[in-house]
Symmetry: C2
Subunit: 474 residues, 2 copies
């Protein structure tokens, strides 16, 4: 382990900015019971699922409309106070932390389905609706929204972090599936980007610029999404392999052949053990692929046969099928609970998650070297991956009271990111930059691209009130 001397990506940026009492008075006057300064409420809004901590925001506004968001931002702009949008609180890289002070704008009450255009395969929602609420609300249309980051995140938050997850290998990420937005700018004005048309060449792609901007360029107040017809046939299978390499090589060939697999997740043997213990399953404790095929009955069978024959060449076991919806849900729930299963496997631990994504041909190299490093470190970890996209996550399970363990985990992360970048990959496939990966972003893009991001930020938010201190330092 050669731990780097410093971790610039853990610096919180500028100091806390003042939140004048006059501003809080104005907020209370405008929002009444929709504004809370209770300690418990503030603390709940001052953290996310990641491992970084900061003082909580000074107040939380529970917005119920675009007008509420616009008014809160306008008041904040008048007083130069930071605003941090809050959806479901499931981000991982410190996105929600009030590291420069300010207030949280909670949009979870803005969770209405505004319009479904089933014939156009589109839906327009408020940002606080979660992906599960959305799919429940449209279940009678024969359509579904596929993006599935695991957590039951809010759609606004998923757009803000450019989320993806298990279905992205087939259906793309929020980048491909957000058609249009309504956003409140730093001046407190609501603007619209995009239309319901499937494609457009009408000027700068503000929609794609705002998707993934982590609340630093505007507060998302409405999202229009693409939907997909529920597949006629769905089948899920698991397949165990003698090694991680065998599993990964099977995936690489599947992608290179162009098989339109809907999901293909890697779970390493150690993580299968944690999942078995947590979810009372009896999965074979070997490296495993969890797959799902969507299409016509014949198409699904054809895809599965192709992948099965590739797996056999790598000494994979025969597929075990989950044919009923209940069996499939049980398997996917176990997969989504891998994080919690892992965290519960070590009492009192916190997980430090990695999120590299590499070109598919480099996936095996990147993964295997990083597994060897993690094994050598002695830190317990879990390993799961959306491997069809070349994206995987280690979660290093550290004792939060041990600076040495945190340093070791950060050093592992650092080495993994350096490896991914040298292989043509990215430091973050889907979690975003937040506070934690600011140094990595600079390593990845070089100073020129970050300077361009900074110039855009300064042009659109000259007071730097929109979620300041995230993505890059100003």
């Amino acid at each position: 382990m050669n731990a780097p001397a410093t971790h610039a990506h853990l610096q919180p940026g500028a100091p806390l900015r003042p939140v004048p009492e006059a501003f809080l008075d104005a907020l209370r006057a405008r929002f009444g019971a929709q504004c809370s300064t209770a300690q418990a409420v503030r603390e709940q809004h001052g953290r996310d699922e990641g491992s970084i901590q900061a003082p909580p925001p000074s107040a939380v506004v529970f917005a119920e409309s675009t007008q509420d968001v616009a008014d809160a931002v306008r008041l904040a702009a008048q007083h130069g106070v930071p605003v941090i949008p809050y959806g479901a609180g499931s981000s991982l890289e410190g996105h929600l932390l009030a590291i420069q002070g300010g207030i949280s704008i909670d949009v979870s009450r803005m969770n209405r389905l505004l319009r479904v255009d089933a014939d156009d395969l589109t839906v327009t929602v408020q940002p606080g609706i979660t992906r599960k609420q959305l799919n429940e609300a449209i279940k009678d249309t024969g359509l579904f929204f596929p993006i599935d980051p695991g957590a039951d995140a809010s759609i606004g938050g998923m757009a803000a972090t450019r989320a993806s997850g298990t279905n992205a290998v087939r259906y793309g990420t929020m980048r491909e599936n957000v058609l249009a937005l309504e956003v409140v700018t730093a001046a407190g004005e609501a603007i619209r980007t995009g239309t319901r048309a499937k494609k457009s060449a009408a000027g700068y792609d503000l929609t794609r610029l705002l998707v993934g901007s982590e609340g630093t360029l505007g507060v998302i107040t409405e999202v229009t999404l693409r939907l997909y017809p529920l597949p006629e046939a769905v089948s899920a299978a698991i397949c165990s392999f003698p090694s991680i390499e065998a599993a990964v090589r099977t995936v690489i060939q599947t992608i290179q052949l162009g098989v339109p697999i809907a999901r293909v997740e890697l779970i390493d043997a150690n993580t299968v053990r944690m999942v078995n213990a947590h979810s009372k399953l009896g999965l074979r404790e070997e490296p495993m692929l969890l797959m799902e095929f969507h299409g016509s009955p014949a198409g699904v069978q054809e895809q599965a046969e192709t992948v099965q024959s590739l797996a056999q060449e790598w000494n994979g076991n025969a597929f075990e099928w989950a044919t009923t919806p209940e069996e499939r849900t049980r398997l996917w729930t176990a997969r989504h609970n891998a994080y919690f299963a892992a965290v519960q496997s070590r009492s009192g631990c916190r997980a430090i998650s990695t999120d590299t994504c590499v070109p598919i041909s480099r996936l095996a190299d990147c993964l295997l070297d990083s597994v060897a490093e993690a094994d050598a470190s002695g830190i317990p970890y879990f390993l799961v991956g959306h491997v069809g996209d070349g994206n995987f996550h280690f979660g290093y399970l550290i004792d939060p009271d041990s600076p040495a363990e945190r340093q070791t985990a950060e050093a592992l992360n650092h080495q993994l990111v350096a490896r991914a970048l040298s292989l043509g990959g990215t430091c973050t496939g889907e979690h975003g930059v937040g506070i934690h990966k600011m140094g990595f972003l600079l390593d990845e893009t070089g100073p020129g691209a970050v300077a361009m991001m900074r110039a855009i930020k300064q042009a659109l938010d000259p007071q730097n009130i929109l979620n300041p201190g995230k993505i890059f330092a100003l």
Copy 2:
């Protein structure tokens, strides 16, 4: 016909800016024979395939490297002179016109394939390579680049205008298929955006911001693209219908069922007549769909059977199959030559093209009302469409010496755009804004989004030297 009183979208913007002799001397000193001020060369670079005219640029630099582009931009920045990137000259909305003066940077000599990563399904090219050159260069890899705007455009130009075309219904547009860019900024510095990873959440999506920015935010000097495995089976078919409506309803249901059709093009009866005359074909002179199916042999058959049964419900004829590659090429060449066939059908005419795109459920309404208006106007026209995406083009064939005809055509375009916007669509699916659609862009997004675009432009190009006067007025 209620022609609008004014056409703000035809205003050329600010007056010509001076191009100092000292600047031209510096260009000649740096570029020697790579810099031309010959009248014929300047005129060739001062127009595109659209119908707007302007004085030519003062000089043309034939760049052969990123360094050449950077040096040309840096010299231009020192003298405050506009620069206009030039690829294949096939844009349609006045993108290339030197309406504020300046120089053209021709990148057509930068047409090398820099790297193919067949295992990753990616390729990196210089911007001047055309889509046909690219596909020729990679033909031994078993992969192809699907985006096909008809013209043999340069990849850099296709990225700059967010091009799409016939295959976009299945494979997406340049928005979805550009992974990474190298771009020379207004300061003459080369920066990189994106990586070869399939997805990323690493900061602002500069790649997507630059795709479609029409040379106004940077000059593209390198493009990394997604490739696709050549489908195991391809079949093409044509199907004639008793009416445009019947053809369009078949397409709408095809898309709503989620059939992964690779191409589905509408050609109206009048345009079929023009194509027959031009390409010596004997196609039935009725509204026609030209379709292509990609997949496994069984998958292709299944898709075709589904669409055939939908077409029958709308009284479409039996599919006529083009089974050999030669027959398919003949059909698609005829489709791509529809523009030229139409222009040749009226001696000396120019085509004014429309490019609206609407949500698929509104396609029939939008098309049929606009056909009625065009028929009533007496102006000859062609009508083709990438109807699977809700995108179609009228080409009004006007006498360029008749202001009355131009006004009538612009009025038809205006009414069509207003209709598309009222149906939730966009004024441009794939041609871009250029000069011609600046007013339409404002109608579409409202002033808030255009103000955001302007702020970004001013931040990244404070001297306004990068293709000024396009997309919006400053």
